[in-house]
Symmetry: C2
């Protein structure tokens, strides 16, 4: 079978099966938020925590095959509480995935500013997640200037205010909302960010449970790809990563197994395409 990429499409199918149809060394960036280990999950087939690594390793093996040598893999994960303590499946995953050849280049922290409220006797609200950065080589593409941020308290305050009303309609085809806003302060000094990134979660409206804010993939896409590059999200859900990719003038490939999410993603993508006149 000839292996080829279907660009700017959401594929409704099993992640592993579909990945096998992709050619080698063809993707610039994989950014994805795999379903967390949880037996009880309804929408995805729940993966038990103790089976999680075993379940994921064949997938990361395919990731390794299809990713370009200078590409990056971003895994957004967080271990949940199992039986009163943090489960170790994410740690196990890091250790095992390295044996496939992956380099654990960095661990970014996504600080969820408005984490889900709640109160428990022995812990506080969980307001952070890991964004694990793996590469195939020590040298890889990184466009740091694309994510520079305005400096200073005045800027911070303005930023916060701007972020509050994250108005998608202000986004253009060639520049993300973030980029445009930053451009407004072009006269001001900008600095490189650190490995802690602060984004609010998206209020879970829509018909989709994931609280994956578009700004998260947006940030990594700007950081690790240039225009025209190919971005893969193999657990694309209702299409957030794909939307961010398209808005940034990159090409997306999305895989989603769940029919309901697939349809939702397809609809949102088509709406955006119409808007961008693609």
């Amino acid at each position: 079978m000839k292996k080829e990429l279907r660009i700017n499409k959401i594929i409704n199918g099993d992640c592993l099966k579909e990945l096998k149809k992709f050619p080698d060394d063809s993707i610039n960036l994989i950014v994805t938020s795999p379903p967390y280990a949880d037996r009880r999950k309804k929408d995805y087939d729940g993966v038990a925590p103790e089976k999680y690594v075993e379940w994921f390793l064949p997938i990361s093996q395919e990731f390794y095959r299809v990713l370009k040598p200078n590409g990056s893999l971003i895994l957004n994960m967080k271990e949940n509480i199992v039986n009163g303590e943090r489960h170790t499946y994410v740690l196990d995953l890091i250790l095992e995935i390295k044996k496939q050849g992956w380099i654990w280049t960095e661990e970014y922290i996504w600080h969820k500013k408005n984490a889900f409220p709640g109160k428990w006797p022995n812990r506080f609200r969980d307001s952070w997640e890991r964004c694990l950065h793996f590469t195939k080589n020590k040298k890889f593409k990184m466009y740091q200037d694309n994510v520079k941020e305005p400096i200073g308290d005045w800027a911070k305050k303005r930023l916060q205010k701007k972020y509050a009303n994250d108005d998608i309609r202000t986004m253009s085809k060639t520049q993300s909302g973030f980029g445009r806003r930053v451009a407004n302060w072009s006269g001001k000094r900008k600095v490189y960010p650190s490995n802690v990134i602060h984004f609010a979660t998206v209020s879970s409206n829509k018909n989709h449970s994931a609280v994956f804010p578009e700004r998260l993939p947006d940030w990594f896409i700007r950081l690790f790809t240039k225009k025209g590059d190919i971005v893969l999200d193999s657990f694309v859900g209702s299409g957030t990563t794909a939307l961010a990719t398209l808005k940034l003038d990159r090409k997306f490939i999305g895989i989603e197994r769940n029919k309901k999410y697939y349809l939702s993603a397809k609809r949102r993508i088509n709406m955006l395409k119409k808007e961008l006149k693609i």
Copy 2:
């Protein structure tokens, strides 16, 4: 040999050797920042990353013995870059320490707002560290109300400024400066924090350079102990944890191997004791 605790003293000696002299189940909280692998080589014998777990496990075993059943262990650590990627010794440590019976209850993120600057082709500044929370049981003491924070930016600013110049003279024996300050905002709304804590590191203010800011142990001491409880830091350095403990009207035990740091800690403690008239 009869095992007993020497309260409110800094011990100049080897951590493991000194711990063996402590009685079982006698410490309420251990909060410590062990030397990271291959760091601070000037002051300590550097521990190679691949030997780190092996070096630490006997110590954590003693921690387990001396900690009360409802106590907590807070380990402040961060793996550094070795050969272009994050080393896994902290992950290995978590996995191994659990085999001693420790429960990995939570992982707090310390966001260091003023991380060391620098620019590299493949990563940003490292501005976070792990504060691993281990317990002996699923039920343990946690005084969440002690760390409630006033809401709003104005409060944060005031807090920071007050803490910055660390004015011992304003502290009373029975009430920490923090506590008194918080009391001033009694009319304001207070909220529980999350598992991401934001403190700046302290640069060399007086004649010592603090490894971590006093607010960090201060926060955990308030969270996991009540007045009169015993707090241990077995790598106490120049005494930051001990000072925080004393100001909060708890009892400290500090162990420090390096003579220079030991003397510095002792001097600072004595100064504080004089101020507090203990």
